[in-house]
């Protein structure tokens, strides 16, 4: 009975009267060779405290010098998200003590971020395009790692990650559902992977996301108190955390409780968030301009030169494939899902005009073979030329699609040096039997089966398949099926 009452209470909460308001702060490690302000290597998964320098260890007397590549990466991302790239900026220090922050401050950008005001188009709940505004993107540095539970007595500190360059992208609170947040992160990740500036791996932490979440009654225009949720190590978990947090906040409001502005930790196993209720006093980061780094000046020429070298971006490719190549949006999206595949496909369409067929091959036989062999597109050795070879064989009627997919493609997958027509010849798969040769075989077949011929002529047209199958077998696939069926037809109609 009690349970009934409780579940009724929950049922009565009008979840549908509320809408979600989410803004995301995404930190991404830049794929540079060296660190943000020092020359030690930026790598993942090495032995602890081996990727270090006196600078990243925060030793006395050391100074930061900005990695030129990190600036280029930020400009690339800013341009790709239609942001304003600022020409003059300075770095700032954010002061706080943390065991894996050896300097006692983080070098970041405060009042003068490198990029401001842009947008990223994503798909909303109903698969419609929605524009998410980007507030800012700025450069900063990562901290090392403290491990509190590896040793019973001590905290262990590894500074390999200290000083790895990060770009932080802050969105406006424009996201209205967990699905939108999911789509935003997927799109952002795709973008940085296309740009080659971050590998976007949330599990390894090269991409990290904090979500600022609040709820409000539908129709309201003001924002309510928000909570910041941290520690979600996959895009799926961001979605889960938002869903949980939305429900929690609505229940909070409906039960007449006040939502406290706080930081909450996401617990993946339970799918819940918990207050991080820190005993420390309110943070006061005492930002001030970093005196060790001169103000940075970016010339217009520099911005133009980076702009002119930007790679094709996923949304541009989708537009091109659907509008110019006549592909379906679905196909275009699948092909552009991963940069490697899109680049591969780009090469294919340089060499053939059979766009549709090329896309069908990518979506069909090639994907199937990749799945079957459990290999990533990045490990695939099949070259665009090899696929174009297949397409040409099919288009010229020399090989049937099914023969090409079943017999030729698997061989080419293993033999990056071979080409399709060579394999077709070797395997004797070319449909080059002459009309006379086909007619001879057809006559033999029909002569061998007079009763079947009679049945056909009596109206059992389905027997055509039998004759064709027999002919293809006897010709060892070398007969063009179209030609063969014409010839059989002609003989039967006599």
């Amino acid at each position: 009975m009690e349970e009934m009452v409780e579940s009724t209470a929950v049922k009565n909460i009008p979840y549908d009267d509320y809408e979600l308001v989410v803004g995301l702060e995404v930190h991404m490690q830049l794929s540079t060779q060296s660190k943000a302000y020092s020359s030690d290597a930026n790598l993942f998964g090495e032995l602890p405290n081996t990727l270090i320098s006196p600078i990243s260890l925060g030793h006395p007397g050391t100074l930061p010098v900005v990695n030129a590549k990190s600036i280029d990466c930020a400009i690339q991302l800013g341009l790709a998200m239609n942001m304003q790239i600022h020409q003059d900026m300075y770095f700032a220090r954010k002061n706080y003590f943390y065991a894996d922050l050896p300097k006692g401050y983080q070098i970041t950008q405060d009042k003068t971020p490198i990029c401001t005001g842009g947008f990223l188009d994503i798909k909303d709940e109903n698969d419609q395009v929605k524009r998410i505004n980007i507030t800012r993107a700025h450069l900063e540095e990562d901290a090392g790692k403290s491990m509190h539970d590896q040793d019973p007595f001590d905290t262990l500190i590894d500074l390999n990650r200290a000083g790895v360059p990060l770009i932080e992208v802050v969105s406006e609170p424009d996201l209205r559902s967990s699905k939108e947040a999911y789509n935003y992160l997927t799109e952002l990740r795709k973008l940085v992977r296309y740009l080659g500036i971050c590998d976007g791996n949330m599990e390894e932490g090269s991409m990290r996301c904090d979500a600022n979440i609040s709820v409000r009654k539908k129709g309201d225009t003001h924002f309510n108190t928000r909570c910041e949720v941290k520690n979600m190590n996959s895009i799926r978990n961001v979605q889960r955390a938002i869903e949980y947090e939305m429900k929690r906040q609505i229940e909070c409001v409906e039960n007449g409780e006040t939502i406290v502005q706080e930081t909450r930790n996401f617990d993946a196993p339970s799918g819940t968030t918990q207050s991080m209720r820190s005993k420390e006093r309110a943070h006061d980061y005492r930002y001030f301009p970093e005196p060790d780094i001169l103000p940075l000046h970016i010339t217009l020429e520099k911005i133009e030169s980076i702009k002119s070298q930007l790679p094709a971006l996923p949304q541009e490719l989708v537009a091109k494939y659907t509008q110019k190549l006549g592909l379906s949006e679905y196909d275009a999206l699948v092909i552009t899902q991963e940069k490697e595949l899109a680049l591969w496909f780009e090469e294919v369409i340089q060499k053939t005009t059979e766009y549709k067929m090329a896309a069908n091959w990518v979506m069909g036989p090639i994907k199937a073979l990749l799945n079957e062999r459990a290999i990533e597109i990045s490990q695939m050795t099949l070259s665009p030329d090899q696929l174009v070879g297949i397409l040409n064989l099919i288009a010229s009627g020399k090989v049937s699609s099914s023969t090409a997919a079943e017999k030729i493609l698997p061989v080419l997958f293993d033999q990056p040096q071979s080409d399709a027509s060579e394999i077709a010849q070797q395997m004797n798969l070319v449909q080059d039997a002459g009309d006379d040769e086909i007619e001879k075989i057809a006559q033999d077949i029909l002569a061998a089966w007079p009763d079947k011929v009679a049945a056909y002529q009596a109206g059992n047209k389905g027997l055509m398949g039998l004759f064709m199958g027999e002919l293809m077998k006897k010709s060892q696939g070398k007969a063009n099926p179209k030609v063969a069926s014409g010839i059989i037809q002609k003989l039967l109609d006599k």
């Binding site: 540079t32 060779q33 060296s34 020359s39 030690d40 290597a41 032995l47 602890p48 405290n49 081996t50 990727l51 270090i52 320098s53 006196p54 260890l57 010098v65 900005v66 990695n67 030129a68 590549k69 990190s70 600036i71 300075y90 002061n95 003590f97 065991a99 491990m147 509190h148 040793d151 007595f153 001590d154 905290t155 262990l156 500190i157 590894d158 500074l159 006093r281 006061d284 005492r286 301009p289 005196p291 780094i293 001169l294 103000p295 940075l296 000046h297």
Partner: protein
């Protein structure tokens, strides 16, 4: 400006310092005196003046090419650590009484 005990405590917490009651009292007095002294800055009219952040104003950038130079070893990194093992810096944890 008069600095009070509470301000000194907050600053000490931010700066990670512990002050004995006597030191705190002394600090309240010193900071108050220093701020009085610093108040002479108010005698200068700074209306419309931009803060000076760098004494040498230049549009030249001092940047570093993205090249790896691994100049010190793990052993050297840990050499000055007050407590360490072969791989990590170590700091004792607070143990629960139980």
């Amino acid at each position: 400006m008069k600095i009070d005990n509470e301000t000194v405590e907050r600053l000490a917490d931010l700066a990670k310092l512990e002050l004995s009651p006597a030191a705190k009292e002394e600090m309240v007095k010193d900071l108050t005196n220093m701020l009085d002294f610093i108040d002479q800055l108010k005698e200068v009219d700074v209306e419309g003046v931009e803060p000076l952040i760098f004494v040498n104003e230049t549009t030249k950038n001092v940047l570093r090419p993205d090249e790896v130079k691994q100049e010190i070893t793990q052993e050297e990194a840990l050499k000055n650590a007050p407590q360490k093992d072969m791989y990590y810096f170590r700091v004792p944890k607070v143990m629960n009484q139980a």
